[in-house]
């Protein structure tokens, strides 16, 4: 073990003169950084602020006595995401144990049940969803319908105290989910439209895609936000809904481009074979071309989801309080002025963990798709 790691070190870090120089510069730097951070994190940082503001970070300014609504919604989201994961990546008991560490940790740090209880509920429902689709393949068939129902329930549960109160990490996740789910079909239609034989449709779709791809997201979101009440005053859509519409309008164009690259990767021979069987163009596109195209672009599409999640903070422009903004709000309290690093570190780590989980799930999805073709 030690012998091999020495060998590995010598080969990889000190193999060539340039490697030696780089290693001599970088290794001490990294060690110093790691020491400083650990020292700060365990000796001088005061993490109580994160624990005390956890509720605001997670669900925004939801009134405390209504918090159960947001926690219920979070648990439903957990179940949906878990169930989705279970379709491509089989649940193992040790995954459950790792996840359950979160509420245990909260219990230890916090000492009370205020945060640990909801956390337990969310984690438990995630595990439940994950295990269900892993072990009972039949449930995968009803997942889209179940997820849709779940979403309706979320809205129904969260709406009474006021849609304007939605916030925190929950808002970021909701925004990401809604945008990802809606932009996929719209993007697919745009991609096909861009290849259509009807030139009017083709031109409209091309323009839409090109315009959206050449302007900043934040501007699109802001424009939609100010335009919707002007165009449709009687709708009275909430800021959250308008934000989601703006995100969907913007990201559909990107999805369309990814899907189009996938469509181009499907060999002509596939279409010709299907045509020679007498299949209609609609059937060919739906059952032969699209599934093969999507398979090719799973990775960029998931990258797009990550992109949406990381862009969610931009909803501050229309007055919404997402995860990042919630952190800023806490820091705006003069009483906590000296805890900037603690809060920002928590945000950074959480974004990093969620981002890596999405990337990891994407890799599993790709593996899953690859075995299907073989």
């Amino acid at each position: 073990m030690i012998a091999t790691s020495i060998k590995w070190t010598r080969h990889n870090l000190f193999g060539k003169p340039l490697d030696v120089v780089l290693s001599l510069l970088v290794i001490p730097g990294v060690l110093w950084l790691a020491y400083t951070i650990t020292d700060w994190a365990f000796a001088s940082a005061k993490w109580d602020i994160v624990v005390q503001s956890l509720r605001v970070l997670m669900i925004g300014v939801f009134p405390a006595d209504q918090a159960w609504r947001a926690w219920t919604a979070s648990a439903i989201i957990g179940a949906i995401l878990g169930a989705g994961l279970g379709c491509v990546f089989c649940f193992k008991p040790h995954h459950g144990l790792v996840l359950l560490l979160v509420p245990v940790l909260l219990l230890i740090v916090d000492g009370g049940l205020e945060n640990a209880l909801p956390a337990t509920g969310i984690i438990a429902s995630t595990i439940l969803g994950w295990a269900l689709t892993s072990y009972v393949p039949l449930t995968r068939k009803v997942l889209p319908a179940a997820a849709f129902t779940g979403f309706i329930v979320i809205v129904a549960v969260m709406a009474p105290p006021g849609v304007g109160l939605w916030g925190g990490l929950l808002l970021s996740v909701l925004l990401t989910l809604v945008t990802s789910v809606l932009s996929l079909p719209i993007g697919i239609l745009l991609a096909f439209g861009r290849q259509s034989r009807l030139s009017s449709l083709r031109i409209i779709c091309t323009w839409y895609i090109e315009v959206m791809r050449s302007v900043p997201l934040i501007l699109v979101v802001y424009w939609i936000w100010i335009l919707m009440p002007v165009l449709e005053p009687q709708w009275g859509l909430a800021d959250v809904a308008r934000g989601m519409i703006g995100f969907t309008i913007f990201y559909s164009a990107y999805v369309a481009e990814y899907v189009r690259s996938g469509l181009q990767a499907v060999p002509r021979a596939q279409t010709e074979a299907a045509r020679s069987l007498g299949m209609s163009e609609f059937d060919i596109n739906r059952s032969i071309v699209l599934p093969q195209a999507l398979r090719v672009v799973v990775a960029p599409l998931v990258g797009n989801v990550l992109d949406i999640f990381n862009s969610a903070p931009l909803v501050f422009i229309i007055g919404l309080t997402d995860f990042l903004r919630a952190g800023q709000m806490i820091l705006a309290n003069p009483q906590y002025g000296d805890r900037t690093f603690e809060v920002l570190s928590f945000l950074l780590v959480t974004y990093f963990v969620i981002g890596s989980m999405i990337t990891y799930a994407a890799r599993k999805l790709e593996d899953h798709m690859a075995t299907g073709t073989r």
């Binding site: 074979a273 007498g278 059937d283």
Partner: protein, 252 residues
């Protein structure tokens, strides 16, 4: 009328490139017609016109009682005849063209279910019979990528047959295969021919052409130069170009 395919001075262009020149050809029901010619002579284009994968510009093409619209009409939406024709005409390609994301069984059942609106049970029962016929019953639930080239091509034949075609088109069905697999595909085609299927076959397998064909057509640079019984064509070609073509291919 006994002809299933009838071409009357059919012409096809790729831009300004004149690929098929005044083709006159009739295929009778039950006939096996083999189409020979050098690379680039227009063999593929000819049979791809029959099921409308390629469009022709002038002349007339009648397939199975339906008039195939010329390019100008198809651009205006003459797709109804096209759909009718394609239902009755099967095609087997050089590169198999199986759907890689579907199992062998699903490859075979998708068109009968979608186009002929058969129930899944009925389509699957037919598919299993056809897989029996091409000797691949045991592979029904595999994906195409798990099969050898010869097996894939036999599945492709079964897939076409599932639509109960009146006419089968073959475009070099064995050219992409390893030599040891050519035989198994030709055996299936032989059996199909003896069952009375009308077939138009582009191939470089001269032995097969001679044995199975009722008539041989020789194409050169988009024109039919010779057409006749295989024995006459192979033993005593009248056309000079056909003679030198045969000398070239039979040498190997």
């Amino acid at each position: 009328m006994n002809a299933i395919v009838e071409m009357k001075s059919m012409n096809k262009f790729y831009g300004t490139h004149h690929v098929l020149k005044d083709i006159d050809l009739a295929v009778t029901r039950g006939e096996v017609m083999v189409i020979l010619g050098a690379s680039g002579s227009g063999k593929s284009t000819l049979i791809r016109c029959v099921n409308g994968l390629e469009m022709y510009q002038h002349g007339r093409l009648v397939v199975d009682g339906f008039e195939m619209p010329v390019e100008a009409d198809r651009r205006l939406g003459g797709e109804r005849e096209l759909a009718q024709i394609r239902k009755g005409v099967g095609m087997v390609f050089q590169q198999f063209g199986l759907f890689p994301h579907k199992t062998v069984l699903d490859n075979i059942t998708i068109a009968p279910m979608r186009v002929r609106k058969k129930s899944r049970e009925e389509a699957e029962a037919t598919a299993m019979k056809l897989l029996d016929r091409v000797g691949l019953r045991a592979h029904a639930n595999k994906y195409p990528g798990q099969l050898s080239g010869g097996q894939q091509q036999r599945v492709a034949i079964a897939r076409s047959l599932a639509m109960e075609p009146h006419l089968m088109l073959f475009d070099e069905p064995t050219s992409a295969l390893d030599p040891e697999m050519v035989g198994e595909v030709l055996d299936v085609m032989r059996e199909l021919a003896s069952s009375g299927m009308t077939m138009m076959v582009v191939t470089h397998e001269m032995g097969f052409a001679r044995e199975v064909a009722d008539r041989v057509v020789y194409i050169d640079q988009g024109s039919i130069l010779e057409i006749g019984k295989p024995d006459e064509f192979f033993d005593n070609p009248k056309n000079d170009r056909a003679r030198s073509f045969l000398a070239r291919v039979l040498k190997h």
